[in-house]
Subunit: 209 residues, 2 copies
């Protein structure tokens, strides 16, 4: 396959593909002569994955790169691969909440985690995000939303288990890792649009003029 065919197949302009090659998102094609490379099925898949992450899930290109590197590092254990992808996904945030607010939020969140028996590293960036979010909700006067944290956590736990079961049917480790990552990222896009639709429908029922 030549670059033009790749471009037509996925609907991405050739210069953009060249850009992804430059940035190392897409592995180099096999050179048959100094200015002729051929691309295979794997490139096609990869390119589609890149576009889904960039366009649909709005993941920044630099993070897509890290995620793909995590997927490609099949020398490390699966759990570590997933951890790397997670870390690429969550920006390290500066602490914006006040100290008291954060202390309260931290207490509530760690309590939740123990109650649900979730064993997470204390350094997980998602933990920091969760704490900051809870603190922000409190500061914004949305305590009643925070009181649903447990309900949220339960629902999330339920479908995360489903997902992981679904994904565990994959025969090879590579495919498994890829599925987990795609499921994590595109699954979020999925949930987010489902939420908007559910809200629209419910809000129409309740508050239609």
């Amino acid at each position: 396959m030549r670059i033009g065919e790749l471009s037509r197949a996925v609907g991405v302009p050739v210069p953009t593909i060249k850009y992804y090659l430059r940035e190392g998102l897409l592995p180099q094609g096999e050179l048959s002569s100094p200015n002729q490379a051929s691309y295979c099925e794997a490139h096609l898949r990869r390119l589609r994955l890149i576009r889904a992450l960039v366009e649909l899930a709005q993941v920044p290109v630099a993070q897509v790169k890290e995620i793909l590197e995590a997927l490609d590092s099949d020398a490390v254990p699966l759990h570590e691969q997933i951890g790397r992808a997670h870390r690429a996904l969550t920006p390290t945030r500066k602490q914006a909440a006040s100290d008291e607010a954060r202390a309260a939020a931290t207490a509530q969140v760690t309590d939740l985690l123990t109650r649900r028996g979730w064993a997470v590293e204390p350094t997980a960036p998602a933990l920091a995000t969760l704490i900051e979010t809870v603190a922000a909700l409190r500061t914004l006067g949305q305590d009643n939303l925070v009181s649903f944290l447990d309900a949220y956590a339960e629902a999330v736990e339920r479908f995360t288990e489903l997902e992981i079961d679904a994904v565990s049917t994959h025969p090879t480790r590579d495919q498994l890792a890829e599925s987990v990552v795609i499921g994590t990222i595109l699954g979020e896009t999925l949930i987010s649009s489902l939420r908007l639709l559910a809200q629209e429908s419910i809000s129409a029922q309740r508050w239609r003029t």
Copy 2:
């Protein structure tokens, strides 16, 4: 309150506050003389909300502006306010999936909506996102994830109802609208970090070396 106090209270540099004022995110303070304005509690709340949306939920400034405008337009019915906020939140996407993939996805999604009795406008941008996402998952060979669409939808429906109940306790319409919007946006950040934590914990249980 002067701009410096606002800045210290929320931890946002003065030039940034000036920028938000310029962009119309934050209403002008009351001028007591040509170069002296005073800001009140409402400005403080607004600024905190802006920072939560921008920093925590990563909403682009231009969209935050639209969302705040929707909140401030209390002449229109609540459902319409929410709709505007939703529209500000979801970018109109170009269709990236192939026609057949999209047709199949559309069928599946409309089927889901009828089955669940969700009444949504066919032009809702979230609908387009959902369809594109399902199509992308299929194209990426993740059909088994797509088969959970119903489970996702059910879980989402459940906690969306909880949320709306929680939020309905608010006395005034303004507060209600604000709560719905904050709940929608920061709720997503919340769910997303909970998902990552749940995954980490479950993946550690299953695939720890």
